[in-house]
């Protein structure tokens, strides 16, 4: 492929497209979706579903748009009568053995077979033969069920496992209309990235056991987000039903995660639905914590920042936004501060077919963002200094018992909390903060790519982003200080991020200059 452009006509619209791209991609430039099943931009194109046949002037037969490169001056018709009839024929063929069990199918509402049949199919079947092909549901792996009766044999799953996972455990078995997707009898579909086959399946044939019967597609609200699971920073969609997160799915970003996400990230969302949340600011009054309003807590924290002596220790979560980390540090700019982020370490799990894509050992989405604002990864060292600290600021971090015990004895403890922790009975202030699913923010991944995420559900009670509270405390320390009112302003106000606004980061994120970072 070159930078050279060619001119093609798609359904009457003339567009300039790069030489060498396929007709199906060229049609996207003209705003035309060529219906397809087997084609997927991240996989090889076998041209087997025969849905994308289009009419091209001077070609004797309809051509598969997914494998036919454009030629200069080509006149392509996706909606020519012959192409429409061909698609209608394919849809009819796909339906004759299809169970039409949409009312009980997880895919209904987001099913490409449904969509294209509604769009171009026939209202009535001409199939009047005996019972449809039947094969029982099969367990492919820990989270993937195969419902063969719904399968249209597009082979996306087979190709994903072969080309992307490089663990070819799936294959087409049998011939003719007896064909089905089979799994190697000695293996399970338990590859760390195998959940992607569920997303790739255009119909309800491969379904997630985790999501099974959890929601109908049309009940879901979807928000663009970034996976908080590791430093890779996969682009995801958080899907909620009635404020409950029910599914995470990958969102395409060709630079970061193509169309994929790992199973660890995919299935780790239950904490987002944690029920026992901190909902009101609490202030210590003798032996008790009493509810207060935000003004009172901000004023109290301002006093603590100013009146305590000795070093400050900040203990932060790897899921904290860049804005919150940055503003916590700014709030403490007058103090000698040791700030650390807890970075759980796990096994690395690469997706072999995509260079640079892996579940990373560092299970902290915003490690780089923290480093850029002065939050280090020297966690053990920070814990060791808690005992001699004048002020300990804890930000929404999962502690083990030893860490909790160390912090429980700290002199003055301020807890920016999503949930109160019974192991920390002597906190002086508890500030209810949002978690990533409830706020807008920026994560910086291992390549220093800053990426936005958006709120997927409303925050509980009086919870606010930590940057909001921290900036208000900072404001009290001097006259004429203006503070951000939006997350984007909060980001732009932090010098480490070069004054960029959220909009400046674009849809795919933006690589930042890590020169300011010192480990």
């Amino acid at each position: 492929m070159t930078d050279e452009l060619v001119s093609v006509t798609v359904d009457g619209a003339v567009v300039q497209v790069p030489r060498g791209i396929t007709i199906i991609e060229a049609a996207k430039h003209a705003g035309v979706l060529v219906p397809h099943y087997c084609y997927h931009p991240s996989l090889s194109s076998p041209a087997v579903c025969r849905m994308c046949l289009v009419h091209v002037e001077k070609m004797p037969k309809l051509v598969p748009a997914c494998v036919t490169p454009v030629a200069d001056g080509q006149v392509i018709s996706v909606h020519a009568p012959a192409a429409r009839k061909a698609r209608e024929g394919v849809l009819e063929f796909l339906l004759i053995n299809h169970p039409l069990d949409c009312p009980i199918c997880d895919q209904a509402g987001e099913c490409e077979l449904q969509d294209f049949v509604f769009q171009e199919g026939q209202a009535r079947t001409r199939y009047s033969e005996y019972a449809k092909r039947y094969n029982p549901v099969e367990d492919f792996g820990p989270d993937v069920l195969y419902v063969p009766n719904r399968c249209i044999l597009c082979t996306r799953c087979v190709r994903f496992m072969e080309e992307m996972a490089e663990a070819p455990v799936l294959a087409v078995a049998e011939r003719g209309d007896r064909a089905y997707i089979a799994i190697d009898p000695h293996h399970q579909l338990d590859h760390p990235w195998s959940g992607n086959v569920v997303d790739l399946c255009p119909v309800g044939s491969l379904v997630s056991r985790d999501f099974l019967h959890r929601a109908r597609a049309w009940e879901l609200d979807k928000s663009a987000s970034i996976c908080p699971g590791c430093t890779q920073g996969c682009n995801i969609t958080i899907e909620t039903r009635d404020e409950a997160v029910v599914r995470l799915r990958p969102r395409p970003n060709l630079e970061v995660n193509r169309h994929f996400m790992c199973d660890t990230g995919r299935l780790d969302y239950r904490w987002m639905n944690h029920g026992d949340r901190a909902e009101a600011p609490l202030v210590r009054d003798g032996d008790r914590l009493v509810a207060a309003d935000w003004d009172a807590v901000v004023a109290r924290l301002h006093l603590l920042v100013h009146d305590t002596t000795g070093p400050v220790v900040v203990l932060a979560s790897g899921r904290a936004s860049s804005e919150s980390l940055g503003w916590l540090m700014r709030m403490l700019e007058a103090r000698s501060t040791i700030a650390a982020m807890k970075v759980p370490i796990g096994d690395e799990a690469p997706l072999a077919g995509v260079p640079g894509l892996a579940l990373r050992p560092e299970r902290a989405a915003n490690l780089a963002g923290g480093l850029m604002v002065g939050v280090r990864d020297a966690w053990a060292d920070a814990i060791a200094r808690v005992g001699s600290a004048g002020l300990v600021i804890l930000h929404d971090v999962d502690l083990n018992d030893a860490e909790a015990a160390a912090i429980a004895g700290a002199g003055t403890l301020v807890h920016f909390a999503t949930a109160t922790d019974d192991r920390l009975p002597r906190a002086d202030l508890i500030l209810p903060v949002t978690m990533m699913a409830e706020e807008q923010g920026v994560y910086v991944n291992r390549d220093y790519r800053a990426q936005r995420y958006l709120p997927a559900r409303t925050a509980p009670g009086m919870a606010r982003p930590a940057w909001w509270a921290a900036s208000r405390v900072w404001q009290r320390a001097g006259s004429e200080r203006t503070v951000p009112t939006t997350t984007s302003e909060a980001f732009a106000a932090l010098p480490a991020f070069g004054g960029l606004t959220h909009r400046d980061l674009g849809y795919g994120g933006r690589i930042l200059d890590p020169a300011v970072v010192s480990r």
Binding site: P46, A47, V48, C49, R50, M51, L53, K61, L62, P64, V67, K85, A86, G89, V90, E92, F93, L94, I96, N97, R126, Y127, E129, Y130, I152, L153, A171, V172, E174, R175, G176, D177, R178, A179
Partner: protein, 435 residues
């Protein structure tokens, strides 16, 4: 000689001269009969000279498509920085076709010699002969012959002392019809599932193991030594009409004739004489009803279309069908065309590789409708439905298996409508099939 019948006066024995003669199977026997002279000649020729000779002979592919063989060879790149491959398609699986089988079992060295010459022409050192899995006896004979050819020095690192390498491997299929499709065959040789590939890229650009590859049929390759020995002009003079159809063709005739078997005719030979003279005509008291002239994938012919039809590429095309592989199925007036069409459709439904939607589902659905018609449960609208399904199955898939299923359905309904109507009206007794 001749097999299974003595050579008929109307035949032109070239490839079939030694059919029925077990002595011709051995390397020595074959050499005594003039064999391997052509290979010795070809080893002294430039590849272009071999290609030109075959081009001049007018030889066309005998597997079914009829593509000019020399032209196909000329598509191979001249440079040999990457290995070139020759594949011999011996996966003869088309219903009604058994002409390659006779070459494989009686004159295996003719094929080996033809392969060796073709390999020289396309600058290939490696030949794969992909033989149909069910051909157990021909496989054994061919395997023995290849071993003999190696032992005699005709094959190997230094063929006949020429300094040229000619290697040959016999690869046995596992019983899938689709592996006779050339790109599926390459996948099968590579150890993959035998699914046809999308073209382009064409095999001459990226074929077996991604390398430049030529695939030729057994009969095509077996004709090559004769062209080298006796000359292109001799071969092209074997012609009974159309100069685009030269040489001889093996026709395997089966069905309702008195003497079924493999016959070698000069292209252009009258089809009627082939059936009624060479094959002895119909059984007593029977009349001709239908002929499938070129393997099960071609349109069915009526007796009127057979009359006056020249048995060559153009002659049969003019009569509304195709020479195809030369597998001729003759049916007399006892034949139920609905049943025959159903059997063909069932075959294709069984053999569809399942890649393309139209073929996977269309072949099976077509079969079920035909079975239902045979059971006496047909509807008038079924014929229009079958025709429409055939349209949806034609010209829309990666390979032509889907088209091949549709072809006999369409020609059956168009030309033998009365047979279908008999079931739809209840005039024909139901047949217990399917369901």
């Amino acid at each position: 000689m001749g097999f299974p019948h003595p050579i008929h006066a109307g035949e032109t024995p070239v490839l079939s001269t030694h059919f029925g003669d077990p002595a011709a199977r051995t390397f020595d026997g074959w050499s005594e009969r003039g064999g391997y002279a052509a290979l010795r000649t070809a080893l002294g020729m430039a590849p272009e000279a071999i290609v030109d000779e075959v081009k001049a002979s007018g030889l066309r592919g005998r597997g079914g498509a009829g593509f000019p063989t020399g032209l196909k060879w000329s598509f191979m790149p001249k440079d040999t920085s990457r290995p070139h491959y020759l594949c011999c398609n011996a996966d003869e699986s088309e219903p009604g076709t058994f002409k390659d089988r006779e070459i494989l079992r009686w004159t295996p060295h003719a094929l080996i010699e033809g392969c060796a010459i073709a390999a020289l022409a396309i600058r290939a050192e490696m030949t794969y002969i992909y033989i149909r899995g069910e051909y157990t006896e021909p496989h054994r004979i061919l395997q023995d012959a290849v071993a003999e050819a190696y032992a005699a020095g005709a094959l190997g690192a230094d063929a006949f002392g020429s300094g040229k390498r000619l290697e040959m491997v016999v690869h046995r299929g596992a019983g899938a019809y689709i592996c006779g499709e050339e790109t599926a065959m390459m996948n099968s040789i590579e150890g993959r599932r035998g699914n046809p590939r999308i073209k382009p890229p064409f095999p001459a650009v990226a074929g077996l193991f991604g390398m430049p590859t030529t695939i030729n049929n057994v009969e095509t390759l077996a004709a090559v030594p004769h062209i080298i020995t006796r000359g292109a002009s001799w071969y092209s003079s074997l012609c009974l009409g159309n100069p685009k159809s030269t040489g001889t063709k093996l026709i395997s005739v089966c069905g309702h004739v008195q003497r079924p078997g493999t016959y070698e005719i000069t292209l252009g030979f009258p089809m009627r004489d082939l059936i009624f003279d060479l094959c002895g005509g119909m059984r007593p008291g029977r009349t001709l009803k239908a002929v499938i002239p070129g393997g099960s994938s071609v349109p069915i012919m009526t007796p009127a279309e057979v009359d006056g039809c020249a048995t060559d590429y153009e002659g049969i095309a003019a009569a509304g069908s195709l020479l195809g592989s030369g597998g001729m199925i003759v049916m007399d007036d006892s034949t139920d065309l609905v049943y025959q069409v159903m059997r063909l459709a069932r075959f294709y439904a069984h053999e569809s590789c399942a890649q393309c939607t139209n073929c996977r589902e269309g072949t099976a659905w077509t079969t079920r409708i035909l079975e239902r018609i045979l059971r006496g449960e047909g509807k008038e609208s079924d014929l229009a439905l079958l025709m429409d399904l055939a349209d949806n199955m034609t010209g829309k898939t990666i390979c032509v298996l889907s088209d091949s299923c549709a072809t006999p359905v369409v020609s059956g309904i168009q030309k033998f409508r009365a047979d279908f109507d008999a079931y739809l009206t209840g005039a024909a007794a139901p047949v217990a099939v399917g369901a």
